[in-house]
Symmetry: D2
Subunit: 354 residues, 4 copies
């Protein structure tokens, strides 16, 4: 299996660098006969697009998708679906001074140690720009899952120490997204203020995204190494800046007794969901929900000590365009990766029985 | 790729049910020429073995390993290494009354929904007994990693609300393990008391295991989907009862500003390690550390409401032998899975450059 | 993917050396609910067993299979099915004098160059004894395919220059097998005489096995890299001593014009099958048939020049037990590998459409 | 693993249809630091390009490659290398009348049975145009192998019943290619005449390509399922119209005695190579050589009986542009696939030993 691919049967391969010609991907294994609405993919890309609000980087990318193959008269044919997003507002020259510098928190140092050569322009392959290809591939997975009446909805549940005070079950997740992508108005306002203030300070903040999936029937996911939540964890932790993953109650589960934590079976009115809809790695038919923690973005305007590639200590002050907080743009990426996991798990689950 | 296998080049396949004839595994891809000390594998198995102390289940399994292939005159030959652990103290009859019952928190319900048939005896394939095969396979990976001067050490850092008050850097991880597998004496004693009390109550507790890996050079792990911490996350979340994964500071990272959280480069004396030794999915040469949260075991003696497979509501009172807390026995499983991830990442990393 | 595994969804992993403790395998991905008749597997093993007639090696192996997991009350559960064949009549001492010798035609030299270490006893992992695990795994695949009304029947169509003079369509493939496993009586007798004479001379002969598969519906196989006949070719060429593979008319197709070679569509009464039941890599619903060429076994009693591992030229005269012709015992191996390809192709084909 | 990918570590994924927007591919796993000369890739594509001589289809495609990613300042970076070939002379309208017709010998019928939907334009995904992406990916593999001093050279050794009368060892494979791509002048002339005459008749011919690989050291290839020749067989049989594969002497081996067929070890001056440079699936350091049989192309101008998708019998007379013989253009495809197999086998072989 190639290392830039994700999935066994429903498989996305991505390619492209931040300031190269283009980024893109190939979805292989999408079942034939799916109506692929390209405008839906485009809409998902817009949710991740830079420059969509003053909370995000001002890089201007339209992220207009071009489908190259695999769709004939609006339907998937079973052939691989390749797509392309040309880089438009790339300014490789902006990065000339970073050619020999290791930016703290970034993959500059580690990529160079691994490969001995590095496209330094905007992080090259390690740029979060790569996630646009995930959103496009994930949108196709979402279209497939909609046929199974599955809905995937992520939102920001925490920015730094500001958290939504209610569980997801008490929020209206169907509401129109605001710029922060937090469905709790009062919290959302506070988050916005924090992000703006952080931006003014040239600093950055992280937080938590909660993802809720409804409609998954029991029986998806594999019982041993590829437990459904292990696949979600793998998928989420592969997103840039992600540092933690909790399925269902997650860390809170470690603080309870078994008698308090076991999800009820039967007694519908008392139904609990501490386990997040998965037991023994297999979906149980309840909502699937998990939380994903993101560190503050590594690029800040505040001067930082670092070294160049020759080991000389220098002071770095970022000048480029960057996000003070990645979470609003990470929400569609979380959903996309969740969709890829589920589309694959569904296809695998169809082969489980005689 | 089969679903009961883990790893691309260094690959473990496991098989076996809790109360079937045997459990075992096949390690494929272990480089030839490795001296395989079977007594070391046996010692690792003893750390996971049931009945090793009064804190664990009283099931009596010697877990004596039989190597079937792949080793010739004490050295690996490049051929697959298959091994077997016969189930000795299996008492399938003990489980007759559970044949038609769904135990809360367990995979009984979900397995049946997925496969339509279930080996109900002690959880069958979903039993944590499967992890013995992981420990054996992981021990071979550990032997391989020792050749690279890598050490993997996990310990219990929290049981319910009792946490070790010091970071791992201030603990002596090389000390002889106690029964709790917590290296902080005072905390360990309190944990022991809590576990014993919980056992008396017929209840169960969870907690957190911290894993520390030293000696990994920079350049291991893949930059996109198979980021090194994503592989660790996948591996850990595939362990029974695991509910959360944090690389490095994990959730704490979400509470800091970028200027506080970025790991320094250069200035050795001020070196930080918030990111847990990995940037952009690739190891940076510092210690790798992560935390794994386990829920309290689902099997408790306290009566619980559930249903049988016909949907009738019943009250279940577990009688079998079970662990009030899985963490002491999960420590070697965490280490084993970490070793499998690293052995594979190392082999992959050797093919990265011309 | 590990290198001792075959198949994506229906996957067999094998292990074991010729004169080690045991050989065996793990079938992962067998759908749950399949009735697994162990006596059928045993019967298939008997067809490959050494010592079954005077045409084969006199090594005495009962090849009694022990199922270790994955089957509960005679049905597959979806868990991996592991099985074991203990080596009984192994005589590692017989091979002491071969420890430092490279036998011509065998993998002795190449294994040592690759791995730097070698289990020299009877070819170790490279022994055709490994194929017993394939027959066992393939028998499970066959049981699965029988549920889809698929029959796989291989036979010897040529030994050296003695060939069956009729196409498979004019043979009775359902007849009881004779020792040669050639369904054409007159040819079979001549083959037997040739094999016996060759044995007396201490020499060996090869030949051709034809495999015919009925009942495969249209739509199996993948259109690009994993064309159905490419998978059959991969599978067959992985069998010891196999040197050629032809799908359908194979080499004969290269001698015809397109107007003579294109298979008809429609006009049932004039239906041809030059392509062997596959077009564009996908089954078309007609019989699938292919031919597999085997070289004469490398082990002969006639003295041969070779070298030891230090490069000294020596004369080697094989004394062990060996087959003058592998084809009678290879017939069930060909069928087993065909079954593994088909079981996998079938499962994959179920995920092709919405 | 996705089905439009080939290779484990060095992996090519292809996409695109004959008359869609573009075809292309992604090479993942190419080691970093390789100098990638795009003009070399272009030159290889020219060898496969339609319209290069009057022996091939007159479709006019420049097949100008655009590299989208993975190369920075002329060197591979370890990131996936994506490339694109726009379809220029596509005339989808030409195929309107074939929308509902099954062309004999083609994948029209089988694709439709498999997927229920079909891009009928020029064979869609099943067109041999897909192989252009293989040539581009294979060219990168060739560049990598050149660093290891490996040369891959294929040529036409037979067209219908006209065969080169000499073994490859007596031919000058380094000579400039002629249009037929047969290095034996007299035979080449006869082949050209046959192809031209066949074209005039509106018919088609097949033949045999021999591929010779020099410079592979001993130790490449895997000993069980992924034997080096099994991988070559898989690769070759996945090329459109390929019907047979022989490693080394192949079918001729079945006609010899063991005492005649075993390759010598030692006695350099008497060295034989019946096995084609591979024993037990592992390269032995001698030349690797194999032969690949292609059937005559299915598209002919001579009227043929077939049916439409409703089962009505019709007479089909091809009008489009097509090749009377695919072999001259298949030569670079054979080389490309061989290069992909070897690049992968090499990388795998580097992880075999401690």
């Amino acid at each position: 299996m190639s290392r830039n691919s994700f999935g066994t049967l429903f498989c996305l391969t991505t390619f492209g660098e931040s300031h190269g010609a283009a980024i893109g991907g190939v979805v292989d294994g999408c079942p034939a006969g799916l109506t692929v609405d390209v405008s839906y993919i485009q809409k998902e890309l817009s949710r991740r697009r830079p420059g969509q609000s003053d909370l995000t980087t001002q890089r201007k990318e339209n992220d207009t998708i071009e489908i190259l193959s695999g769709i004939f008269e609006n339907k998937s044919t079973g052939a691989p679906i390749a797509f392309l997003l040309r880089n438009e507002d790339h300014r490789p020259k902006d990065y000339d001074e970073l050619r020999n510098v290791y930016r703290p928190g970034h993959a500059d140092f580690t990529w160079e140690k691994k490969y001995g050569i590095r496209d330094h322009r905007g992080g090259g392959r390690s740029s979060a720009r790569e996630t646009a290809a995930r959103v496009a591939g994930g949108a196709i997975a979402k279209l497939f899952l909609m046929e199974k009446d599955i809905a995937i909805k992520a939102y920001i549940s925490g920015i730094k120490n500001i958290h939504v005070p209610l569980p997801y079950t008490q929020l209206d997740l169907s509401a129109e997204e605001n710029e922060v992508r937090c469905p709790h108005k009062e919290t959302s306002d506070r988050m916005r203020q924090l992000i703006e203030k952080t931006k003014e300070n040239g600093d950055s903040v992280g937080g938590i995204i909660t993802c809720v999936i409804t409609g998954v029937k029991s029986g998806w996911g594999e019982p041993v190494f590829d437990k459904l939540h292990a696949m979600f964890g793998h998928a989420m932790l592969s997103i840039n800046a992600c540092k933690s993953f909790e399925i269902g109650d997650g860390l809170s589960s470690t603080l309870r007794l078994g008698s308090e934590n076991n999800d009820t079976i039967g007694q519908k009115e008392k139904e609990t969901n501490h386990d997040g809809g998965i037991q023994g790695g297999i979906s149980n038919g309840r909502d699937i929900w998990f939380r994903v923690g993101f560190k503050p973005p590594s690029t800040i305007s505040i001067p930082q000590h670092t070294t160049d590639i020759e080991g000389n200590e220098i002071v770095l002050e970022a000048k480029g365009r960057h996000d003070p907080c990645v979470l609003p743009r990470a929400v569609p990426v979380v959903e996309a990766m969740a969709a890829l996991v589920l589309a694959d798990a569904y296809l695998l689950s169809t082969t489980n029985r005689l």
